[in-house]
């Protein structure tokens, strides 16, 4: 699922696609290659996305349709947080998409290098939400939000890329529900389950990205696709603050709200999420940049998160680290001595005598006897 750009023999310098001169290959996906190109007329740099030629015709047909889809989806979207498309064309039988060339790093790299401090991360995700809100308002659902599809360019500006599997309302392309597209790690439960997907699915994916940015590790760990998908559908992840103490409570709640499995409990639109993120920003900024943990500590935390998330049970709830509960946790995990009896399931009723004694009936009797004795003594002392 990781599509790292492979170093490739440089493209033929003289190769042209349309009116663009290809300079070098900058990325390669499963179905297409992205080149850095130059618009010779305007002298500006562009990114040219093309179809990989080595596909069989059936695959190519499918990809071409999707390619057109992306062009169509992007064509109508003019927003600072969404990559700008210049042209969709066909040159010598090669379909291509000329887009804005972005110089920056995608979030995947930034997460790996932990270059993004907390407030920048929140800001970036808020921008992503802005872009999504705009796309959603135009009836476009991205469906493949993941760190690799968010580029952060100069000035900490976020750009959403790769609308390859975006779904457009009244689309002529049949991206039938049931066909799984996208990266499993960043899928929403409804995507995993093959249910109808709407714009709220993007918000779940944004929630996963935000989680990873805040906690430094994805909420649902493990390398097995099925394990991840199971957890996406069932597990409630630990709040990011459990891993990164600098994460505020508000951010915890935003993440939890975005990661709601129940569609109606989740954020209903991206704009609301962006607003909440921006509202949470001052507190984060006030707290300063996220503490940079030593790599060894990071490693420990990451493995810990991975270990924890692998076994998150359904309806599991997380211990709040703010309260010191270690002693009790030990007792619960390994009851010893009388705990074995006291914490065992038991159905025996208590002995009768004990019931009477603690029932209040005993007290009642004592009270009345005392009163009677007092009365008798009173009468006797005349």
């Amino acid at each position: 699922m990781i599509d790292l750009p492979q170093p490739d023999p440089p493209a033929d310098k003289s190769e042209h696609v349309g009116r663009y001169r290809l300079l070098k290959e900058i990325g390669r996906g499963a179905m297409g290659i992205v080149f850095l190109g130059e618009d010779e007329g305007l002298g500006r740099r562009v990114a040219i996305k093309t179809i990989l030629a080595s596909m069989d015709s059936e695959e190519q047909k499918g990809y071409l349709a999707r390619f057109k889809q992306e062009a169509k989806a992007l064509g109508g979207l003019n927003h600072p947080s969404i990559i700008t498309v210049f042209e969709f064309g066909d040159s010598n039988g090669i379909a291509y998409l000329a887009m804005e060339y972005l110089e920056g790093k995608d979030l995947r790299d930034l997460i790996a290098s932990r270059k993004l401090d907390l407030s920048s991360a929140v800001d970036v995700v808020a921008q992503v939400c802005d872009g999504l809100a705009f796309a959603h308002s135009r009836g476009v659902v991205h469906r493949d939000i993941k760190p690799g599809n968010v580029m952060v360019i100069e000035g900490n500006r976020a750009k959403i890329m790769d609308f390859g599997i975006a779904r457009v309302r009244s689309s002529d392309l049949k991206t039938q529900t049931g066909l799984m597209l996208g990266s499993p790690r960043y899928m929403s439960p409804e995507q995993v389950l093959g249910r109808a997907v709407d714009h709220r699915s993007d918000l779940f994916s944004v929630g996963l990205v935000l989680y990873e940015l805040l906690a430094g590790a994805p909420p649902f760990g493990g390398n097995d696709v099925h394990q991840i998908m199971y957890q996406i559908c069932n597990a409630r992840p630990a709040p990011p603050s459990a891993t990164n103490p600098a994460v505020t409570r508000a951010l915890d709640i935003i993440v939890a709200k975005a990661l709601e499995k129940d569609l109606d409990a989740r954020y209903q639109d991206a704009a609301a999420m962006a607003m909440d993120l921006r509202a949470a920003l001052p507190e984060v900024a006030g707290a300063g940049a996220a503490p940079v943990l030593p790599p060894s500590e990071l490693e420990r935390l990451n493995t810990a998160v991975a270990a924890a998330t692998v076994v998150i049970p359904i309806a599991g709830v997380h211990v709040i680290p703010r309260f010191d509960c270690d002693a009790a946790l030990k007792r619960l995990a390994d009851p010893r001595g009388s705990d074995r009896r006291r914490m065992a399931p038991s159905a025996e009723p208590p002995p009768l005598l004990r019931r009477w004694f603690s029932d209040g009936a005993f007290l009642f009797a004592v009270g009345l006897t005392a009163a009677a004795v007092a009365a008798a003594a009173f009468i006797a002392t005349s």
Binding site: A307, C325, A327, L332, D339
Partner: protein, 353 residues
């Protein structure tokens, strides 16, 4: 992971749910959660440090209490006192398991049931599941009465649970009712003792001859009495006033003078008699309605009680109580007379008379 045990540990869970949590904004939710954590921290001292585990819950917080259901209930009461958040608190008891991790994850039936109970609870109230009530009763049978069944709720897993109201208010009302009932009965007993003491004759004190605190010029009137032996039964009328049925009525007191005694019984011919009663004189009336024998005339009893000689010189300050012939009689008859409230003239000189 700890070695898997065949049975999960059972523990109590108090689930504190913030009312309408999901309908609020993030800032509000963050504030409420923080406030709720403070509430929990404030209530935790009722538990020992190794008894509780605080866990994050979707709409609030949950506290798992180990091997101490009463502690869980007390904790819930304490936390429920908070008026700012007014958490709805659900109590449950059942299996809780731990999945190691960072932070550890708890899961199990008790957590789900507690959430269900909390959802069925009004803000600021405490509810408990049947499992919790059973667990509490096992350790503290007397607390059974504190939890009153109030309905049922369905949890997230679709299972129905019986819900018991476990408010401190309800519990307090019940126990205070119990307490005051006991106190009242005790007061009743002591009060009865007091009455007995008041109506009991003082031990004879020969030196102090008591006298009524009324004007000594008025001659004392000692009532006469009529005893009845009516078969099978009859209504006693004296001077046209109904005095009761005989049996059980055996004896009535009448002031000295002429009296018309009439004994009626259904359709039988009433028996009438004219009596002239002297001071302290006693008459006996015997009559059998069924026997056709002519009515016997009332006979003057052999015993004639006379007033004791009075010493008019006694100082009123020395006398607390006048000893009348009444008080020489048996304790129980006087005791009953107290409650019968017969309209005989109060013996002159009796307390308050």
């Amino acid at each position: 992971m700890p070695p898997a045990r065949s049975t999960a540990s059972h523990a109590s869970v108090a689930y504190l749910r913030i009312p309408e949590f999901a309908q609020r904004g993030v800032a509000d939710e963050a504030h409420l959660k923080e406030a709720l954590e403070k509430v929990v921290a404030g209530a935790l001292p009722v538990l020992r440090a190794d008894e509780y585990i605080v866990v994050d819950a979707p709409e609030g917080l949950a506290v798992v209490v180990l091997a101490n259901p009463r502690g869980a209930l007390r904790f819930a009461w304490r936390a429920g006192l908070d008026r700012e958040i007014e958490p709805a608190i659900g109590l449950a008891h059942g299996p809780v398991r731990i999945a190691q991790g960072q932070p550890p994850v708890l899961y199990g039936d008790a957590l789900i049931a507690a959430e269900g109970a909390a959802k069925a609870t009004n803000p600021g109230r405490v509810s408990a599941s049947r499992d919790f009530r059973d667990a509490l009763t096992r350790v503290h049978p007397g607390m059974r009465r504190l939890l009153v069944r109030s309905g049922s709720a369905v949890d997230d897993q679709g299972r129905a649970h019986e819900i018991f109201r476990a408010d401190e208010r309800t519990a307090g009302r019940r126990s205070s009712l119990f307490f005051w009932t006991t106190i009242l009965i005790a007061i009743g007993i002591v009060g009865a003792g007091y009455v007995v003491k008041v109506t009991r004759p003082p031990p004879p004190v020969p030196q102090v001859i008591t006298a009524p605190p009324v004007t000594p010029s008025v001659p004392e009137v000692v009532p006469g009495a009529v005893t009845f032996d009516i078969k099978p039964e009859g209504e006693i009328w004296v001077d046209g006033a109904f005095k009761g049925k005989s049996p059980p009525l055996k004896k009535i007191q009448v002031p000295p003078g002429n009296h018309a005694i009439e004994v009626r019984s259904g359709h039988f011919k009433p028996m009438t008699a004219e009596l002239t009663v002297g001071q302290g004189e006693e008459f006996a009336v015997e009559h059998n309605f069924i026997a056709k024998a002519p009515p016997k005339a009332p006979v003057k009893s052999a015993t004639k009680t006379l007033p004791r000689p009075q010493a008019p010189a006694a100082t009123p300050s020395q006398t607390k109580r006048a000893a009348t012939p009444e008080q020489e009689k048996g304790f129980w008859s006087r005791f009953f007379q107290l409650f019968k409230g017969d309209d005989r003239p109060a013996p002159a000189g009796s307390p308050g008379g």
